[in-house]
Symmetry: C2
Subunit: 394 residues, 2 copies
């Protein structure tokens, strides 16, 4: 074995040292695999495992019951007429925007841009850019995105560009503050202009009850790895209306069973099997009564922190989501007087086996309480207090 | 628990009943996970696991050593100046074509079409369609795709459309016959017209030695789940030349670290970790001496079948790849006289625990000998002979 071969061994048997920590990163709390998903991962891990059972169209595989999942369980769950499993939420958003850029754009009533809330995720903007579309944002919200912000953005867009946008995109909730905008009203406003609406539910679908039909949106995108206890990359895409579905899932001129925007097939291995395996538990946890328990947990945690006088929650009050953003003046003061500066908090939390606040952040940070339960939340709040006390800020 | 909850349990704990079979499907033989990849899958299975270590750009994560893999090991392996990990080979082909459609297309010297060999994979055609490009195929080859077929297709394309194509795509090898075209010569021809060349190496990279620079191609795409012992969806994309790399991996106007064609991030979970974990063994197995052993195995198996007088190999002679395609007149005759008709072969092979020939095929079929070794290949050849004898065709 040469020295080069030895060097390559660095890519093998790498341990994930965050595994024994309490993870409060909003990206991670709702992506933890269920036992059933872990089992699926091992059983279906090899390469293209699912393709052993495929006759040409991934979404029509009968055994394992992918067809039942994609064409029945998933649209029912999303409240849409049709759905597909994709490589992620961003790939789903791209598929919608790319389709509209090639269909609606040609009607002459639209110009190549998308309206998004000021808190839209970067991947929404990059997806628009990749689809050749400009982005017009609502004003940066002070506390929350208001329906009139969308109305203003649409009117400004039409005024400046002469034509209406191809799409209105609503982030529900945003991944920093966990604020939930009034989707019904925003969708109504958008529909008055006959502009379709996409709901980016990467932090909602799989965590809380969401129905595209109830909210009145046309497209809905979710993330398997972020919020549906699946091994990524995997996401879901739902669409309301036969015509919109036929456009979005149009077949190739080169191959009558392959869908163009999906490049034929998307999640063709273990990820789709983990998404399916976790699905029964995901359905369960998104029932209203269970989600209300999560919201109560979040509010309990917020109250514990606010009671110290050293944490201020940003955004909607009362808070209705597990993703939350705090200003932490006490932590900031400590960072100004200690040797490690703004990295002290990361180090302190690492010692206490709490992961998920980015190294260097102290003044404000986002986190998530999803699925942690009272004991772990108390442990986190206690730890925050201990750190403040250690440096005489409490 | 309601009856609906019970119904959802169908998505859990599904067994993969092909696991105890000898799998000869070309899609599967080189996608089997190594032990190191299985370990990575379990360790890194949760949702967005890798993102715990990310500061904004997936390819720059230092620990685990993704940066070392993407920016050093992978380009070295592919013989390119730059490389990225993608969601698959098809997504990589789309990224190249979509980029060219938005850059080169604007120079005025090109028209929106791509030249491909007559055996191009459907996903190459669908990727072109999704990028808004037409496809001009070389003539359907009788035995193999010849360089002059590409020359003819390019000349015809230019004659009919007035301008040259954006890209020449070579399938190396095709996934049905395992034929290896003369890439060097085809690339040379294409470059004489100043048309860039993409090598679709989904059945080559990870199985056999391939170097973009040695072959003289500009772009190269490979499949992690098909040929690199990784858990899908995952693929690799390499590019030669600074300017081409800068175009392909251009950054977003909305976010200075995110690459537009990658929608910011691609394989952001377990798949990239399995790709890396298997990489040392993949490098090893693609060394010329090891690949020559695979070719010798393939040729041994072909000879055993041909010696029966009931199998005719299609394509290049001598055959130089593990993917192969047989005409099987004996099997076809049986299908015409037995009750189960053309499904008899699938049933017979199932009984012998051999998987990978699609149900209903008898007259001709593709298969792969990759990694099976002499004992399993003898078992397969013996089984084929037994079946022929059982029905008096041998």
């Amino acid at each position: 074995m040469s020295s080069n071969d030895n060097r390559l061994q660095m890519f093998q048997y790498i341990k994930r040292d965050t595994l024994d920590s309490v993870n409060i990163d909003p990206l991670q709390t709702a992506g933890l695999l269920t036992q059933a998903a872990k089992d699926a991962l091992i059983e279906w891990g090899d390469g293209y495992s699912v393709c052993d059972y495929c006759n040409g169209a991934l979404d029509l595989v009968k055994k394992p019951p992918i067809e039942e999942f994609v064409h029945k369980a998933l649209p029912e769950f999303l409240g849409t007429d049709a759905a597909r499993v994709m490589n992620g939420a961003r790939e789903s958003k791209f598929a919608v925007m790319h389709t509209l850029a090639h269909t609606a754009a040609k009607s002459g009533s639209f110009d190549n841009y998308v309206i998004m809330d000021g808190w839209a995720h970067y991947s929404s903007k990059v997806a628009a850019e990749c689809a050749g579309l400009d982005v017009v944002l609502t004003k940066k919200p002070e506390k929350e995105v208001m329906p009139e912000d969308f109305l203003n953005a649409i009117e400004t867009g039409i005024e400046e560009r002469g034509k209406k946008p191809l799409l209105t995109l609503i982030t529900y909730p945003d991944g920093n503050y966990g604020n939930l905008p009034d989707v019904k009203k925003i969708a109504q406003i958008s529909h008055e202009f006959e502009i379709p609406v996409l709901l980016n539910g990467a932090y909602a679908i799989g965590r809380m009850p969401v129905s595209a039909k109830e909210l009145g949106v046309d497209y809905i995108t979710g993330s398997g790895h972020k919020s549906m206890a699946a091994s990524g990359p995997v996401g879901v895409l739902g669409v309301c209306g036969e015509e919109a579905a036929a456009q979005l899932f149009r077949k190739s001129v080169h191959n009558k069973v392959k869908e163009v925007e999906l490049l034929g097939c998307t999640s063709r291995g273990a990820p789709i099997m983990t998404l399916m395996a976790s699905f029964p538990e995901v359905v369960q946890r998104t029932r209203l009564e269970n989600w209300e328990r999560e919201v109560a947990s979040a509010q309990y945690f917020i109250k514990r922190l606010e009671d110290t006088g050293q944490f201020v929650l940003f955004g909607q009050q009362p808070h209705r989501h597990d993703v939350m953003f705090f200003e932490a003046p006490g932590f900031f003061k400590i960072s100004e007087k200690v040797k490690r500066g703004r990295y002290f908090l990361y180090d302190e939390l690492k010692e206490k086996k709490i992961h998920g606040i980015k190294p260097g952040l102290t003044k404000n940070f986002k986190m998530s309480t999803f699925g942690l339960g009272k004991d772990k939340l108390d442990y986190i709040a206690d730890s925050f207090e201990e750190i403040l006390k250690k440096y005489d800020e409490l």
